[in-house]
Amino acid sequence: MSKISIPLGPQHPGLKEPINFGLVLEGEQIDKATVNLGYNHRGIEKAAEERTYIQDIYLLERVCGICSHSHTTCYITCVEEIAKAEIPERAKAIRVLVAELERIHSHLLWLGIAAYEIGFDTLFMYVWRDREQVLDCLELVGGNRVHYAINTLGGVRRDITPEIKAELLKRVDILEARTKYYTTLATEETTVLARTQKVGVLPKDLAIKLGTNGPTGRASGLARDVRKDEPYLIYDKLDFKLITADTCDVFGRVVVRVLETVESCKIIRQVLNYLPEGPISIKVPWKVPEGEAVNRYEAPRGEDIHYVKGNGTDKPERVKVRAPTLANYHAVPHMLEGGWMADVPLVIAAIDPCMSCSDRALVTDRAAARSAVWSWEEMRRNGIEFYKRRGVDFSKVVLK
């Protein structure tokens, strides 16, 4: 049979964000797959160098909507490490609380999307209806549904009052009951099993070799979780299980995520009962001394890494973001190869991809064998030339 190569994306109904997959098909089976990134590059790292540490919190919150708390916590821990500031215990507890609420929110969102890709729209609607509970919790704690903006330099911005605590406990009970129902539904319903078992298989040795992390890696039997391996904030004081699955397929990824949601409910209850008294933030000078720090954080999608370099002023010299999805992309072609065309959207969705998280630019000049850092002006000039070649002239746009 002759082979046909087709592009999937950057604009495709099966994808939620722009990304391109090159698929070589043999009949309806995938012979070879490649992944091409770079349709959603926004220059966030460069913009972070132009802003102060405080302003960067709100900028980095917008790297991704779903993991908005993950990126800021990872970044702000780096800054506090450089500034040698020890934040109060209560602030740490509140950060963990929001992080776990965010994990529930992200995993329920993912379960809905996976159900939608399977074609099980009833499950999608029910999951997203119950996800409103956790969004209300986040609004209660932070003020807004998606960008909670709870972190600040030296602690958190909003406190947990006894009324909020009681309301959260009530809603977490509802969430736990509903999640347990979805666990049975997702692991016993014939439709789900038929579409997820033995689909997008990634064996454990390959998962290690390709450096997958987060629920994608844990579904391949890779017992890795930054919360357990290198406990940050107050995770060493909490009792929770590390969830793994050994089926190595999309079904395993479903199981890992729903069970992690139940674990997160447990963590939230522990944190609310632990919540020590005291201040929620300390004063940290806006000018951060020279130094550099790298920090790891278990985001809902996997391991998030931030690098911050300070130069003694109120602006960082370099901020580097390594979002979890970037590590998982390499595994996607391996999951797709040998599978069926109809499973492609589901397999891609199964790593919980976030395209806006992972698009970072690196400019290297191989011919001249040099690497230089672009200035903001150079980057803008390059952008104007890029769009001019495509027939749009942005040179008259004045930036404030």
């Binding site: 960067d56 009833t122 499950l123 029910y126 003020g143 807004n144 903006a149 016993e188």
Partner: protein
Amino acid sequence: MKKNTPGRALFEALRQLFKDPATSTYPFSKAKLQPKFRGRIDFESEKCIGCKMCVRVCPAKAIDIILSAEQPAAPAQVEGQTTPPAKKKFDCIMNLDRCIYCAQCVEVCPKKALISTDDFELAQLDRKALRRHYK
């Protein structure tokens, strides 16, 4: 665990038939907001001292604090005393199209001249209407 049961969601789907819809009828019914909600930022000119801390921290460069066109009259001169400096009055220009509603300016303001309100229905057909001039 009993596996491979078809129609697991059937009971839930039937139960849903007798329940109210999960969606609200916004804009016909009012949206419920939590007390900590961060909406449009309001400005009180009497409290502002013009330190421009809000302008410094704004991540979106949405705020500008300018001297008001009309300044209050200087306090009357009292015999034998040095004249106290006249209190200056400031205006706030808020670009709602740039604002990201993080309310960092509210937090940093030393005189509480900026307030976070519950106002969130801010869409406009005219772009100029998004540039609010608070006096």
